[in-house]
């Protein structure tokens, strides 16, 4: 009996530290990565580049939401705040002071993290629904403030001044969308790498503990409030990156659009669809919903009508009713089981 136990312990110690995905998944992942790298040369239509740029940006945004909601369990319905801050930070610095958007990118991340502290410290101690509603209201408030703020162009917003020299310094590419694509892909890849590492770190485990049972987490020495704010800061900084790149891509800042509830909603929908708390769920959600949205826009032409949000809404409703953990959750759980039976 005792020797059985000892043998089992030895066997368990000899296992790899992290569970490994099945071979087919690794191969599929590698194939997708390779395809993404050569994509602009295989598909040369501008529209396809546009589509993939949006998928990358939304995958980044959804992953950002996944950090606060999936890892630490707080439902933010005001994430557009940080998207807008990222866009405004880089554009204000460039338009008013001529500072490169690369610096603006960092400034946006920094300001977003500060905003996350300011919003998070009072609100993150609210229970579930109250936090969600608070973020919804704060999101609307920030939009109202930016629409009234003369210094940043109030309701008419700002333009990113067009510069044709030194495109990589000023992050503007007028000849082709391909550089934007690689920038967006790089930003998304960096975000997924960071979250992948985060989930395997002490901080990541602690955030998940806080998500599942805050009191038990506290009894194990985890400062619950501090960890929630920390997750909110990381999430906000990631969202801000997408905002800066988006601003450089469209070159127009419209507070109506940047801070809209729609942005906050869409990142939620994508993550929930793909699988909240999973690593690749947000990317899958973006890869499904962005084309849906763009193709429906083409299909309906310039009627001003949209069907994409309708389909989004129905999809999410169905997912929540029948598969609340999202599409990828079972797949990732099977890996974490390491072949352990139910």
């Amino acid at each position: 009996m005792a020797s059985d136990q000892a043998r089992m312990l030895e066997a368990a110690r000899a296992e790899p530290l992290w569970p490994r995905p099945p071979l087919w998944a690794t191969l599929a992942g590698a194939a997708i990565a390779a395809l993404l790298l050569v994509f602009p040369f295989v598909f040369t239509a501008t529209f396809h580049h546009h589509l993939l740029i949006l998928i990358c940006l939304y995958a980044l945004m959804a992953q950002s939401w996944n950090v606060i909601a999936g890892l630490s369990g707080q439902i933010s319905l005001g994430h557009a705040i940080f998207f807008g801050i990222g866009a405004y930070a880089s554009t204000v610095l460039f338009a008013k002071y001529g500072i490169t958007p690369w610096f603006g990118l960092l400034a946006g991340m920094f300001i977003s993290a500060l905003a996350a502290i300011a919003i998070g410290i009072p609100t993150l101690r609210l229970k579930g629904h109250y936090f969600a509603i608070a973020t919804l209201l704060i999101g609307s408030s920030v939009q109202i403030i930016f629409q009234r703020w003369e210094w940043v162009g109030a309701a008419s917003g700002l333009y990113v001044p067009i510069v044709r020299a030194q495109p990589w310094l000023y992050l503007q590419f007028h000849a082709s969308k391909v550089p934007y694509y690689y920038l967006a892909l790089g930003a998304a890849a960096a975000a997924y790498l960071i979250v992948w590492k985060l989930r395997r770190s002490r901080l990541g485990f602690r955030l998940q503990a806080v998500r599942d049972e805050p009191e038990a987490a506290a009894s194990l020495g985890i400062a619950v409030a501090k960890h929630k704010v920390l997750a909110f800061m990381i999430s906000a900084a990631m969202m801000s990156v997408a905002g800066t790149f988006y601003a450089q891509y469209v070159l127009v800042l419209d507070p109506e659009r940047l801070f809209s509830v729609d942005i906050s909603i869409i990142v939620v929908l994508m993550t929930v669809l793909g699988g909240t708390g999973t690593l690749w769920g947000p990317a899958l959600g973006a890869a499904i919903l962005v084309p849906l949205s763009e193709y429906s826009r083409i299909w309906l032409g310039g009627t001003g009508r949209t069907i994409d949000l309708f389909v989004y809404g129905i999809l999410i409703l169905l997912i929540c009713m029948w598969r609340p953990a999202g599409l990828l959750s079972l797949f990732e759980e099977r890996i974490r089981r390491r072949g352990g039976q139910r």
């Binding site: 609210l126 629904h129 969600a132 608070a134 209201l137 909603i265 001003g304 069907i307």
Partner: protein, 288 residues
């Protein structure tokens, strides 16, 4: 700043507040019964307004005449939502509950936009129109009628909940679902009733609102946000709390708009929410 202007603001704030309160009470009732926040509440208000509009546009029914019909439509919608959707979400994690009703909201809003375009519409020549002058102040007649009917609806709801057997069962379910179930109250049917009544209230509010407010697919968003504030102020599950909080919000909004700056009135109300939930997380009045 004249005294008349302030009185004017108080009266219009009071009347608008009654509508906010009626929207909020439905939200509050539903939350009290099943601890689910209906994020699609504002969209049902929009549906109610469009129902009034189409009944007027296609059948020539004045909104006041079609009010019972709209209430019935919304009540049935409440039953459908409860049996078709909410029951499947009850045992799901909170995220799924939030996103479920949120998804419904997105679909309803986008569906309305697709079917009826984002245009702003109004009901022309309703029975009650124009305004009356009382001393130095002017009151829109539609608003006055709306306020009166809202009050009546509140009285009816209050009597139902406190004086009828079904209403008492509803209260019991809201206070302690398990105990109510042990006492033989069919709690599932009570929840369905809660949804029917909750959305019925929205039906009343939407009908009345359609006589003096623009009708468009996004119209519910702001009302829902204000209803969240009202419910947080009044306490989830409290009827009287919703009434007081709704009126308070109407007053804060109109006086804030007058005294500070109209464009910031919403911010003031949202600030009120944050202040309240941070200091008194159960609202100012508690339950029922």
């Amino acid at each position: 700043m004249s005294r008349d202007l302030i009185i004017q603001a108080i009266v219009s704030g009071l009347l608008m507040g009654l509508i906010y309160a009626l929207v909020a009470v439905g939200l509050s009732l539903i939350f009290g019964l099943m601890e689910i926040v209906n994020f699609a509440h504002g969209e049902f208000l929009m549906i109610a307004m469009f129902s009034s509009f189409w009944l007027w546009f296609l059948a020539g029914l004045d909104p006041l005449l079609s009010l019972p019909l709209v209430v019935a439509i919304l009540g049935v919608a409440g039953l459908l939502v409860h049996f078709g959707i909410i029951r499947h979400l009850l045992s799901a994690p909170m995220l799924a509950q939030v996103c479920g009703t949120f998804g419904l909201a997105v679909a309803l809003r986008a569906g309305a936009q697709f079917l009826w375009t984002p245009d702003f519409r109004t009901i022309a020549n309703p029975w009650i129109a124009g305004r009356v002058q009382i001393g130095p102040i002017f009151i829109g007649q539609p608003q006055l009628v709306a306020g009166a009917i809202c009050l009546l609806a509140f009285v009816a709801l209050w009597l139902f909940v406190t004086r009828t057997e079904t209403g008492l069962a509803l209260q019991a379910t809201s206070q302690d679902r398990q105990a109510a179930s042990v006492m033989g109250i069919p709690t599932d049917r009570m929840s369905a009733l809660g949804w029917a009544i909750g959305l019925g209230c929205v039906g009343v509010a939407g009908s009345l609102l359609s006589t003096f407010f623009y009708i468009f697919p996004d119209v519910g968003v702001n009302f829902a946000l204000l209803a969240f504030v009202a419910v947080a102020l009044g306490g989830f599950g409290s009827i009287l709390g919703s009434l007081v909080a709704g009126i308070l919000i109407g007053l804060v909004e109109s006086l804030g708009g007058l005294l500070v700056d109209p464009s910031y009135k919403t911010l003031i109300v949202f600030g009120l929410y944050l202040a309240v939930v941070l200091v008194r997380p159960n609202g100012l009045f508690g339950r029922f």
